[in-house]
């Protein structure tokens, strides 16, 4: 096994929020409560969960757009966050992001060429011919033609814009790409094309993906490993087979059961009702089964992520 490219250890993010009322004090919003994971080279790790579970905040912390309250993020063994971390330029060459909304993610007043050449120039590539070569190669890689470089975003369809967004994320040749719901705003037929493109690029360039998604069919299709988040915590972690074939945590099972899937709806394929055997459960309760909405203003009760099969972990209430 290769050493992890990115190591996130006990990440916490809390936001102070002005309380209600005129004299209301400050309350604390517990967004992310102790997330730890490794991301290996060439791997696709997905974080799934519903809105407000902290998956986007986790991603923003890794990108350096959100300061972590506690915990550490290491890239190739070196600190990647906080005061000892790299500058924004070094970070930019390590981690990039593909955004959800292809309509808001491109500057309407910049041509594709400007959007792609400015980062190159910023990162010290001055030769006009090299810039132009790299842009053309990049556009070809995402399935666009060189002639399209001089057009403005509004001249492209949603799927093409997402291709431009991917090109911009890859132009600095980062090792890690954060995919924030990369296909959920797209039509079914376009979605398939973008998923295929992302998988092709990953193979070709050995990219590591950290995908944020609520769409479990896409997650199953693309991921190597999956983290299921609820209320700022990982409630289950495992390989894609473990999560989708033998889900252990009740919340994971609820999520999978909720996917509207034509095959399941028509009972043409029975969804696996099997769940993982948990020999060490010992009457300990699952934490946060998702049946009650979490109170984000309360520090979560102590609990631990227990590994019960190789690589397959589930969150249980703390042992007494």
């Amino acid at each position: 096994m290769t050493a992890p490219l990115l190591q996130v250890d006990d990440l916490h993010v809390r936001f102070p929020i002005a309380g209600g009322g005129l004299l209301g004090g400050r309350r604390t919003l517990y967004a992310v409560n102790g997330i730890s994971f490794d991301l290996a080279k060439g791997e696709c790790l997905s974080i799934v969960g519903e809105s407000g579970c902290g998956k986007s905040t986790t991603a923003l912390s890794i990108l350096g757009l959100q300061e972590a309250t506690e915990g550490s993020i290491r890239y190739r063994g070196q600190p990647f966050s906080g005061a000892g971390g790299p500058g924004r330029m070094q970070r930019a060459r390590a981690v990039q992001m593909v955004f959800q909304d292809p309509y808001a993610s491109l500057n309407p007043r910049q041509t594709v060429r400007t959007s792609l050449s400015a980062p190159l120039r910023l990162h010290g590539i001055k030769s006009a011919s090299e810039i132009s070569d790299r842009i053309e190669a990049m556009l070809a890689d995402v399935g666009l033609t060189p002639e399209q470089a001089d057009r403005y975003p509004h001249e492209f369809s949603g799927g093409q814009r997402q291709r431009i967004g991917i090109a911009r994320a890859l132009i600095l040749e980062p090792e890690i790409v954060v995919l924030d719901e990369p296909v959920s705003a797209l039509d079914v037929s376009i979605r398939a094309q973008i998923i295929n493109l992302l998988l092709d690029l990953q193979e070709k360039r050995g990219l590591s993906y950290l995908m944020i998604s609520h769409d479990l069919s896409v997650v199953e299709h693309m991921s190597d490993r999956v983290l299921v988040m609820f209320a700022g915590q990982v409630v289950e972690e495992g390989g894609w087979r473990q999560i989708f074939e033998t889900p252990a945590h009740p919340y994971t099972r609820r999520l999978i059961a909720a996917i509207p899937d034509p095959d399941v709806a028509l009972r043409r394929s029975e969804r696996s009702e099997r769940s993982a055997d948990l020999p060490m459960l010992d009457g300990r309760a699952f934490v946060a089964d998702g049946s009650v909405a979490p109170d984000v203003f309360v520090r979560p009760a102590p609990s631990e992520l227990v590994e019960f099969a190789p690589g397959h972990k589930v969150r249980l209430a703390a042992a007494h």
């Binding site: 519903e50 039509d187 398939a192 998923i195 609520h214 989708f244 996917i259 034509p262 696996s272």
Partner: protein, 302 residues
């Protein structure tokens, strides 16, 4: 043999821009039987939402109906006056939208908004209407309906707001409910609950549903028959089981192949999804062929 509740015949809608009229719907025909759940599925721009707006009589400029008939219980909705149409909407035909926040009045409690339906369409007094509103909230399984009736829309979660919309839509026991992407903005677990609610309530009351969605899974899990729309045409229509099991039209086949399916990776390994453009030779010819399966029970013309 029962007559269809809604019989859309050769519906044409055009957008008038300047002197030219661009066709948006090209002779769309389908029928919905009383109590039946019928789904229209298609990608953005396929005309599925325009169809629902046309049925509701809510087309906005520059869109207008350019031909065809929309028969509701044998009566052509296109011939009705604005006033008759208004009386029909909310009473016999109701609609729920994608974003309940924009469809609810932010300045009025949800109880009052539901009660308004009873006052407006059934001539009830306010006191009785308020009581009926609480019952309506209870019927869509809102916990503590008494207390919730006094809430404003912004005090509720997206899922609860959509339940309120359903309560309002079903308040007057309409014959037809039009649901236009009702769960697209919701989280998956909430979506599953709302879909189940719509399905069960409509089955209980014998309300027919016209379900509009881009999500093949949502349509498959809620509807008995499905129409697939592409570029303003209904290209294929069949019983849900048959349509998903044996798609006939190349566009439907492309769509189903493009969908990542749960469980397919463990059976077949990680394959690339079907790129619809690689299996379809010419998109412009897609609407030339149509596969409209005859209704199994009725066997053809109603």
């Amino acid at each position: 043999m029962t007559a269809p509740l809604l019989d859309v015949r050769g519906l044409k809608v055009a957008a008038r821009l300047g002197d030219r009229a661009h066709p948006i719907l090209k002779e769309v025909s389908f029928q919905i039987m009383p109590g039946e759940a019928y789904g229209l599925v298609g990608e953005s721009g396929s005309g599925k939402s325009v169809t629902s707006l046309a049925v509701m009589g809510l087309l906005k400029k520059p869109l207008r109906v350019a031909g065809g008939e929309i028969l509701f219980k044998g009566q052509d909705l296109l011939q009705l006056s604005k006033r008759e149409m208004r009386r029909l909407r909310g009473n016999r035909v109701a609609m729920i939208f994608q974003e309940p926040m924009t469809a609810l009045n932010p300045l009025s409690t949800v109880g009052r908004q539901i009660a308004e339906m009873f006052v407006l369409h059934q001539g009830k007094g306010w006191d009785e209407a308020q009581r009926l509103a609480v019952d309506a909230l209870a019927s869509v399984r809102v916990p503590n309906p008494d207390r919730r009736a006094r809430n404003f829309p912004h005090q509720m979660s997206g899922g609860l707001r959509q339940r309120v919309m359903i309560a309002m839509a079903l308040a007057c026991n309409p014959d037809l409910l039009i649901a236009d992407e009702p769960t697209t903005a919701l989280d998956v677990t909430v979506q599953a609950e709302v879909l189940r609610l719509i399905k069960e309530l409509c089955a209980e009351r014998g309300t027919a549903v016209l379900f509009i969605s881009h999500d093949l899974g949502v349509i498959a899990s809620t509807c008995q028959r499905v129409g697939v729309m592409y570029s303003g045409c209904l290209v294929e229509e069949n019983e849900t089981q048959a349509l998903f099991g044996d798609p006939r039209h190349e566009y439907t086949r492309g769509l189903l192949g493009a969908l990542p399916r749960l469980g397919s990776r463990s059976q077949h390994g990680r394959q690339r999804l079907v790129d619809i453009d690689s299996i379809i030779s010419d998109r412009s010819k897609l609407t030339e062929t149509r596969f409209i399966a005859p209704r199994a029970a009725e066997g053809g013309q109603p």
